[in-house]
């Protein structure tokens, strides 16, 4: 199994409040792992730890074999992130946003131009490169953030509720696109609270109150029960 994303016995508390308790999860390359949990389950805390907004002393996180605590820069260089909150500069052009990100990852000059053009081509947005981002709709912005997260060719892709605020068509398109990326060899961790974004062949981890309640292949875990029913039964949360 090629190392993708490894999370080993990670715990975190905000003072006395435990946000994550002994979370262990392995996402190999080429797998799409859905991290399913109701609001407040600890998904955002886990993403903050994975993106090193803050760190924890208990547990270990490895990105493509690089330990996030011991070699943070090597680990971050192999990771692409789509954050829940928008991170685009609305007043700058599409192209300028992508070039900025490329430079942050050490890609400049001609190479940055080539990769930016490729990313826009893949999105079918090449002709909109010179437009400011605020001219794009929500779906296009999200796709752009996804394309940006891939510019430095990461091995692991993290997405924190990437479909929030999108309409049904845009949601389906982006979900399908990220599944394709996993098929092409990326290790994908996709946090969501929406069961219809998860396929039976996906890896599934259900997080509730900071603990992993279930982990495995979705189809095996749910058996004949619809995923939604199983999710509600396990978490006791009314939809």
């Amino acid at each position: 199994m090629t190392p993708g994303l490894g999370i080993h016995a990670v715990s975190y508390s905000y003072g006395a409040k435990v946000a994550l308790s002994e979370v262990t999860l392995e996402v190999p390359k080429g797998r799409f792992c859905a991290l399913l949990g109701p609001n407040g389950a600890g998904k955002s805390t886990l993403f903050s730890l994975l993106t090193r907004l803050f760190t924890t002393r208990t547990g270990r996180i490895a990105v493509a074999g690089q330990d996030l605590a011991r070699a943070p820069r090597a680990a971050l260089a192999r990771m692409g992130v789509v954050f829940q909150q928008p991170t685009l500069d609305l007043d700058l052009t599409v192209r300028r946003n992508l070039l900025y990100f490329a430079a942050l990852h050490g890609i400049g000059g001609r190479e940055a131009e080539v990769r930016t053009a490729e990313a826009l081509e893949r999105l079918g947005m090449a002709e909109r490169a010179a437009e400011p981002v605020h001219a794009l709709n929500g779906g296009h912005r999200r796709r752009m953030e996804l394309a940006r997260a891939l510019i430095h060719r990461p091995e692991v892709l993290l997405l924190d509720e990437p479909t929030v605020g999108l309409d049904a068509a845009a949601r389906a398109a982006i979900t399908a696109h990220v599944h394709d990326l996993a098929d092409q060899g990326l290790a994908v961790l996709w946090a969501t609270h929406l069961t219809d974004e998860v396929r039976d062949s996906d890896q599934l981890a259900i997080l509730h109150r900071g603990r992993l309640l279930a982990s495995g292949t979705t189809g095996d875990l749910r058996g004949d029960e619809p995923l939604r029913e199983m999710f509600l039964r396990l978490t006791g949360v009314e939809a």
């Binding site: 993106t51 954050f83 991170t87 942050l104 050490g106």
Partner: protein, 263 residues
């Protein structure tokens, strides 16, 4: 080299954002110009100034407060950047920045340097308009003021960054105005020389003397008249180191200051 590439990109981004928002430039210039052209005109009659270094002759009040207003530009810029972080308007792009595979101190230094560059641009525009109204300094002084304004901008930017990492929630702009900007600005030599303050209250004068903003203003004032002021430079540098270290501490992922804010 990747470090330099990222540094340049952060500066470039801030410059483009600043130039893209015309309103921001106008707002940033109107504030000190109102002080200079309205407040100072009304105040010059009330306040007699004696000859104090670096001036060698009697000066008008407008001439006196011009360096202080350059300091005010740097102060507002530093606070504005910290506010935008606290207000989440910039939080997303800050998170993106912090996932760059570079040391965090380098990324934060680039961010603060970008802010100082913006302050410098605004000061240049402000001084040019002031000159058009006849408020002029010796011209080589404008060149000498560049490093002074940059240093002041770095120090106040570091202060803003430090505040953004420690303060859980700045209720609104009024809060910062009341607790940071007003005390720093009024308890300084920006609007009145320290000896004047001493006549009014020795305690207040002492507070002014330890206020790093006073030294930022004096550094700019002396530079505009091509006179070295090692004491002011030393104070500003010291304050930069203290605020910068505290900001780094606040943004250290192991300290989890960001975590506490997010909970």
């Amino acid at each position: 080299m990747i470090w330099w590439l990222a540094f340049r990109a952060i500066l470039h981004r801030e410059a483009l954002r600043f130039l893209g928002q015309r309103g921001r430039l106008v707002a940033a210039l109107v504030r000190p110009l109102v002080w200079l052209l309205v407040f100072a005109a009304g105040f010059r009659a009330a306040l007699g100034l004696s000859i104090i270094p670096p001036y060698q002759t009697y000066i008008t009040y407008e001439i006196y407060i011009t360096p202080g207003l350059c300091g005010m530009i740097c102060l507002f810029n530093g606070m504005q950047s910290s506010l935008s972080l606290v207000y989440d308007r910039e939080m997303g792009s800050m998170r993106l920045l912090l996932t760059a595979p570079l040391p965090r101190w380098w990324l934060l230094l680039a961010k603060v340097t970008a802010g100082a560059m913006i302050s410098l641009l605004q000061c240049a525009a402000f001084l040019a308009i002031a000159a058009a109204f006849g408020i002029r300094m010796p011209w080589p002084g404008y060149i000498a003021a560049i490093p002074a304004i940059l240093l002041a901008g770095l120090m106040l930017g570091a202060l803003g960054l430090m505040l953004s990492s420690f303060i859980r929630q700045l209720e609104n702009f009024a809060g910062v105005m009341n607790f940071v900007i007003f005390p720093m600005f009024f308890l300084s030599s920006a609007l009145y020389p320290l000896w004047k303050m001493k006549e009014a209250s020795p305690l207040l004068a002492r507070l002014c003397a330890v206020n790093p903003f006073t030294h930022a203003v004096e550094l700019i004032r002396f530079a505009l008249y091509l006179q070295p002021n090692a004491a002011a430079a030393g104070w500003v540098l010291l304050a930069l180191i203290v605020f910068g270290t505290a900001a780094l501490w606040g943004y250290d992922p192991a300290r989890g200051m960001q975590a506490r804010k997010g909970s």
